[in-house]
């Protein structure tokens, strides 16, 4: 059992210059899945979530193509083998 995380360009140097990080294990929620990523790539954590554990407002997380904002947030279910994509939102100025 494993999960695949797709890492955005600006964070790849914090993930061993990898665009994809495969972690062993399963997780019942997005929150627990992300904990597996933090264990593998601790530097990614503070860039994706704040110190109170919320996903930063201009970061989007998709599980198997679905934005977790619409599937339960960090409680969103995760299937074995899911692809979890982290992307910066199209925001700026």
């Amino acid at each position: 059992m494993s999960l695949v995380f797709v890492i955005p360009g600006p964070l790849r140097d914090l993930a061993g210059n990898r665009s994809e990080v495969r972690v062993k294990g399963s997780a019942e929620s997005a929150s627990k899945a992300l904990s597996l990523l933090w264990a593998e790539c601790p530097g990614v954590r503070d860039r994706v979530v704040t110190e109170v554990g919320r996903v930063r407002p201009h970061v989007n997380i998709f599980i198997d193509g679905e934005d977790i904002r619409y599937t339960g947030g960090l409680s969103s279910p995760v299937r074995d083998g899911a692809e979890i994509v982290i992307l910066p939102a199209l925001s700026g100025g």
Partner: protein, 379 residues
Amino acid sequence: MPVTRDVKPRNGDVLLLVGTMKGAFIFRSNAKRSSWDVGGPYFPGSAVYAMAYDGRDGRHRIWAAPHSMHWGGNLRSSDDFGKTWTNPESAPVKFPESAGVALNQIWQIAPGREAESDTLYCGVEPAALFVSRDAGETWSLNEGLWNHPQRERWQPGGGGLCLHTILLDPRSLDRIRIAVSTGGMYVTEDGGESWRPSNQGVRADFLPDKHPEFGQCVHKVVQSKVDPDRMFLQNHWGLYRSNDCGEKWTDVAKGVPSDFGFAMAIHPDDPDCAWIVPLESDGFRCTPEGKLRVYRTTDGGKKWEPMTKGLPQKGAYETVLRDAMAADPLQPAGVYFGTRNGKLYGSSDEGKKWSELADGLPAVVSVKAVEISIPRKRT
């Protein structure tokens, strides 16, 4: 990403650390301050509200607090004038879980006094003070201020609820003053264990009680290095002087086109001399009459005179933000400021004549001016 250039400073050069909404720049000149090289942009795309130079204990370290809209903030440093920067995996300045809030922005980085050469302070939003005792490796929240019973009644100003000013009394390691917009000034005399408001005489025109104990919208406070009892304060309406280290404040806004503004700088050797850039208040917040005028006092605020030579006096609707003005320590003192429209001006003669050092920068939010001393390499 844009190509980044670096500067190569020599001993005795002046550096301007310029933080903008889209990255940081380092301007370098020799002591004449007539021509400038530009390094940067560093951290392109990130807002850099705070930069600092730590020249204590043989260091020549530049600190910056880039904040990415997407990835949050970090505190980074360079020991080679911007060529390389640290990039801590875990953000060193962040609130403990018990605080229940997240860091929005680092607004101020203040290296401690010579006698505490491994100590640094950070002022942040939401308003709080962080301290490092190991030269910036680890940081902790100042609990005394965070747990102050008045804190919950502080209100955010236009820039957010930020702790933007940190004044370290050179005579006592235990005495620190901070300013919060909008909370007012607070002082500790026991090294941060306890804090009390220090706003006597400062108005709060936006409150029913015009002279509350706290809650003033202090925009900037500066303190003389040669006479630490002398301070100037630019308020949200009101321009003040203190002769007793901030205990009492006297309004000195005579002769200025507006008593509203953000930026202030104080002379490195003359406690009677300070510079400000008045702005038309309250909604407009640009230079009055489209004239970019720096006002200077040389008598402790009894009189203010416009310093306009070299500055545009027509159609110049500029805004100079609270940390975007600084003076260097040379003789005569150099004065510098950046605008929200991306212009950077400098004077090498205490404001008598100004030059445009840059146009077309991203919006400037902070300017620090330092003379550098590079330790010689051991042979």
